[in-house]
């Protein structure tokens, strides 16, 4: 029976010392507060656990005595106490493993090992990535989700639902403004619900389906491993690949997942990049759908956003002081995902997403209605119009940016809608897509950013992002015009 691990003598001595010091301080008797043993608490204090140390900081004398004990122990050991403690535990663990576990002596290299090597080696790994992007993203999400599915549902809405709703509302509600709230061009049902179900939903559904498959297969950590070097150059470790790829699904979710990153600095950089240069599924899905007819424009948009991502990331990393992140991550086994699991996961994510966006889309419709009724909407659009025109875009695009304030995907859906009515030129589409991609994160994401990084940091990020997005749009339009490029 394992009563307790015996650590090297120097550590045991320090532990005894700390235990007696702690019990001497009645006011701070930690073992009354925490439901774990005194020895365990002493071990944590010995390893300078921040939570416990914060409690002790009220007592300078005690702290000095503990510091002294730690110093003596590490001098006797010739290594940091944390390392010594970890290695005595690990030694015992290996010993025990040997006793209880039998492994086959000659390990055969299974197929999964070969695939693993192919995915992490940049020479074969990048083609695999391109393959996945082409079929998973471009073909499946872009063409099938944002193309075929959106078209089908949109047509259904426009032919069967909108006219009926308009007609019913017109007959039962006599007052025109109230009619507009529910139906007509900007109504809750005819615009809000339609955007949510006909444009955003199919895109998000196909993306989540593809992403769930990648997730369960174990490919993503291998992608992290391969991209580690690239990410290091922008001050992030390969670990940050997962929040970034997750951000391509939903930036709000991804901002929460930045918690898995080790340093504060890394979390800050990745939160910022998520807010600026990582479009969410609904956004890029719609953009891919819009630009699919013009592959050159699509590549330009993707390339431009990637360059912004890398350059801004690099500059942020240079500006922010702090330790560079190391890379350490579990590489889970490659598995063939179970179809049922993927479906359940996609369903759960969809449900979560849908219930999150529906109220927001409805609110947006109400706000727009209110804005139009009071003339506020026209005023703000009036302010935005010069900017829109400076970007070489028709004035009808101005409301799209206003939608973007509410939600990125709402703006993207608006752009999609507009394209069907107006037939924007290739250049105009590219500029609008770039501005929308870089533009302000949605309300939900801002909430999470405030929760994770604080109000000040969040406001600072937003204050940078909005002008930056328009400036980049201006720059692209200007350069394309000067160079005489048209998509």
């Amino acid at each position: 029976m394992l009563a307790q691990i015996a650590y090297p003598e120097a550590i045991e001595k320090a532990l005894a010392e700390i235990e007696s010091l702690l019990s001497r301080e009645n006011k701070l008797s930690l073992d009354n507060i925490y439901p774990i043993s005194r020895r365990s608490l002493a071990l944590l204090v010995l390893q300078k656990d921040p939570t416990l140390w914060e409690r002790l900081e009220q007592n300078d004398k005690l702290l000095a005595e503990i510091e002294a004990a730690i110093l003596i122990a590490s001098e006797q050991l010739g290594e940091p106490v944390t390392a010594a403690i970890a290695s005595s535990r690990q030694q015992l663990a290996w010993q025990m493993e040997q006793q209880v576990l039998r492994e086959p002596s000659e390990a055969k290299t299974p197929l999964s090992e070969t695939i693993h090597k192919l995915t992490v080696n940049p020479i074969t790994g990048f083609p695999i990535l391109v393959f996945i992007l082409y079929f998973g993203v471009y073909k499946f999400v872009g063409e099938f989700g944002a193309g075929t599915l959106v078209d089908t549902i949109e047509t259904f809405f426009e032919e069967n639902i909108n006219p009926v709703v308009n007609q019913i509302v017109a007959t039962i509600i006599p007052w025109q403004p109230l009619q507009d709230l529910i139906a007509n061009d900007y109504g809750i049902i005819t615009l809000g619900i339609r955007y949510a179900t006909a444009i955003v939903l199919p895109v998000v559904a196909t993306y989540f389906l593809m992403f769930s498959f990648l997730e369960d297969s174990g490919y993503l950590p291998r992608l992290s491993l391969m991209l580690d070097r690239l990410f290091k150059s922008i001050g992030l470790s390969g670990r940050a690949v997962i929040p970034m790829v997750l951000g391509l699904g939903c930036d709000t979710m991804a901002t929460l997942v930045t918690r898995t990153l080790e340093t504060k600095r890394e979390r800050l950089i990745s939160t910022f990049l998520l807010a600026l240069a990582v479009p969410c599924a609904a956004q890029w899905g719609v953009i891919v759908g819009l630009l699919a007819q013009k592959p050159a424009a699509l590549l330009f948009w993707a390339g431009f956003i990637t360059v912004v991502f890398i350059v801004v990331g690099y500059l942020t990393a240079q500006l922010l002081p702090g330790k560079k992140a190391g890379f350490y991550m579990e590489i889970p086994p490659l598995r063939l995902p179970k179809f049922k699991n993927i479906l359940i996961k996609t369903y759960v994510r969809m449900k979560w997403y849908f219930f999150e966006i529906i109220p927001l889309f409805i609110w947006a419709s109400v706000l727009i209605w209110f804005g139009r009724l009071t003339g506020l909407f026209e005023q703000i659009i009036g302010l935005l119009e010069p900017i829109t025109l400076a970007l070489g875009l028709p004035e009808q695009v101005a409301p799209i940016f206003l939608y973007g304030f509410f939600r990125r995907d709402y703006g993207a859906a608006g752009l999609f809608d507009l394209q069907q009515q107006l037939a924007l030129s290739g250049n105009q589409l590219v500029v609008a897509a770039i501005v929308l991609t870089l533009f302000l994160p949605c309300i939900a994401q801002v909430q999470i950013m405030i929760k994770e990084q604080g109000l000040k940091t969040t406001l600072a990020m937003i204050a940078f992002i909005i002008p930056f997005a328009f400036f980049m749009g201006y720059l692209v339009n200007f350069s394309l015009t000067i160079l005489g490029v048209s998509f």
Partner: protein
């Protein structure tokens, strides 16, 4: 749990008594509520390194769904659910992965702090059978901390495919805590785990009674 982050609270002199109660009372209250709850509901925590299948087990035990995937760090917040073992109503808590009781990242801190601030009737340490040796140090730390632990060796199916054999009885004797082998994703061994939890809870109640 944010309370301890704010050392100012103790220093506030305008209403020191109240503030003090606010800080220390926070934990006391927490303990009280958990003991009050545990009269009717047994508290179980699932802990372990990232990507060992805690969330799969959580889903299997509670019948609810939290997102699971094949990469570490999917769970970044605590999820709570309920189940019953025989007649016994049980509250189950799923935690983000942690490597040791000394946290490095935020999500590890979430898991560790849960063990520091809430008392559990059973702490199930979920490990990957393929990497037993690397995971045992956390088991040692849980035992060291005096937490009522059970070791659940998960992913036995994958280990068997690699030809790995494990002797749980021997490990049980060595560690002095219950050891269960399972494959939660294939729903194998979950019932045995439940049985062991029930056994453990009732024996602990006996030994704890006055």
């Amino acid at each position: 749990m944010q309370c301890n982050k704010c050392p100012m609270k103790l220093k506030c002199s305008d209403s020191p008594r109240q503030k003090k109660r606010g800080l220390l009372g926070f934990f006391r209250k927490k303990k009280e509520t958990t003991t009050a709850e545990s009269v009717k509901m047994t508290q179980i925590a699932l802990v372990g390194m990232p990507n060992v299948g805690k969330s799969v087990l959580f889903n299997g035990l509670t019948g609810t769904y939290v997102t699971v995937s094949n990469y570490p760090g999917t769970t970044v917040e605590v999820s709570r659910g309920q189940t019953s073992i025989g007649e016994l109503p049980v509250a189950v808590v799923d935690t983000p992965g942690m490597y040791s009781l000394l946290p490095i990242t935020e999500e590890e801190k979430v898991a560790r702090d849960l063990l520091l601030f809430q008392s559990f009737d059973v702490v199930i340490h979920v490990v990957d059978a393929k990497n037993l040796g690397r995971m045992l140090p956390l088991t040692f730390q849980l035992i060291e901390a005096g937490l009522p632990s059970i070791l659940a060796i998960n992913m036995m199916d994958e280990a068997q495919q690699l030809g790995i054999e494990i002797n749980p009885e021997y490990l049980e004797r060595e560690l002095g805590i219950p050891v269960v082998t399972m494959a939660a994703a294939a729903n194998f061994g979950v019932n045995e785990l439940k049985a062991r939890v029930a056994e453990y809870v009732s024996s602990n109640c006996l030994s704890r009674s006055y």
